[in-house]
């Protein structure tokens, strides 16, 4: 690793060579061992890294307790997802979409086939007779007396 390489990686990944990509670490250590200038650059970079590691805002115990209570109650009120959704959830979205389209197409095709090829199991009455039956019902209901 040349000095330029080291400085570039220092810019990219920061001042902790032990956290750099594994394949760079040994060469980085060797470069540091041989070059005082790189060690100085590492110290400068460490100052920048310290800037980035702003201390976290404290999360108080009372706040955590309130959140735990709220989320516990919410979980007990919300059902977990069912088996079908679980199976679909594990599939890639594109496959799920394809699966749904295939199901719709299958339903449409079989529905059309049944409608075209199978006769209804009930005998179909002539339309005039249907109207007559409906008429009889209405008379019975509204007159209050059966015929």
């Amino acid at each position: 690793m040349t000095d330029e390489d080291f400085l570039r990686h220092l810019d990219d990944y920061g001042a902790s060579p032990e956290r750099w990509p594994a394949e760079l670490r040994a060469e980085a250590d060797a470069a540091l061992a041989r070059s005082p200038a790189l060690r100085t650059a590492l110290e400068d970079a460490a100052a920048f890294d310290r800037l980035l590691t702003v201390p976290a805002m404290p999360v108080e115990d009372a706040r955590v307790a309130r959140l735990l209570s709220a989320v516990g109650a919410a979980a007990r009120a919300v059902p977990q997802e069912g088996v079908v959704m679980l199976l679909l959830g594990r599939m890639p979205r594109r496959r799920v979409a394809g699966f749904c389209v295939a199901l719709l197409a299958l339903g449409w095709l079989t529905g059309g086939w049944f409608a075209g090829h199978l006769a209804s199991p009930l005998p179909t009455a002539p339309r005039s007779q249907e109207l007559a039956l409906l008429n009889d019902e209405v008379v019975t209901l509204f007159d209050g007396e059966p015929r």
């Binding site: 956290r19 100052a47 805002m57 404290p58 979980a75 919300v78 997802e81």
Partner: protein, 188 residues
């Protein structure tokens, strides 16, 4: 029965079976860090609370989807938190700079505390100005101390892609915080 020594994997197995006590235990174990992570991403305590609650609710609802062979529970949880935080940042009118309160009192000297607070605010502003995923890279790698591989897994990307994202974020921050930048500042 839930034991204090149960691993995350064991608890998740029970949560997937509808065990609410196991869920309580898991939430108690990880809530504080989930809130802290959301707060680092949003800079806003009330948003952070909502995100953490929503994240755990999703853990409960979708527990059956988690596959311990593919990712640690914490990777999955942090991924949910980061995605929710990024989604929230994209809402119209959302502002990340509601952060209030004092930093942890780690120094005895008041002037030093004020200077540290000003520096932190400057860094937070520079971070908030980064694109979402670059900000996420800095938060996970520098602030949460995760490895390149862990952070890459959380953002569902390869390690080298993450390294390049991190490099871009660091370069942008260096520019924003350089002494020459009018809205940046000086490094201590």
């Amino acid at each position: 029965m839930v034991e204090a020594s149960d691993t995350d994997d064991e608890l998740m197995g029970r949560v997937a079976g509808g065990d609410a006590a196991a869920f309580d235990r898991l939430a108690a174990r990880h809530m504080r860090r989930a809130v802290a992570l959301a707060q680092r991403m949003t800079g806003n305590p009330s948003d952070a609370d909502e995100i953490a609650q929503e994240a755990f609710l999703r853990v409960w609802q979708h527990a059956g989807r988690w596959d311990g062979g593919r990712a640690a529970f914490t990777t999955w949880l942090y991924r949910i938190v980061m995605n929710l935080a990024i989604d929230r940042g994209r809402r119209p009118g959302w502002s990340p700079l509601e952060e209030a309160g004092d930093l942890p009192d780690q120094t005895p000297d008041a002037l030093t505390r004020i200077a540290e607070r000003q520096t932190a605010e400057r860094v937070n502003r520079a971070l908030a100005a980064l694109p979402d995923r670059q900000r996420a890279a800095v938060v996970l790698f520098h602030q949460e101390g995760l490895s390149l591989r862990q952070a890459a897994e959380i953002l569902t990307m390869g390690e080298s892609a993450f390294a390049s994202l991190l490099a871009r974020a660091r370069a942008a921050l260096k520019t924003a915080l350089s002494p020459d930048d009018p809205v940046g500042g000086r490094m201590p």
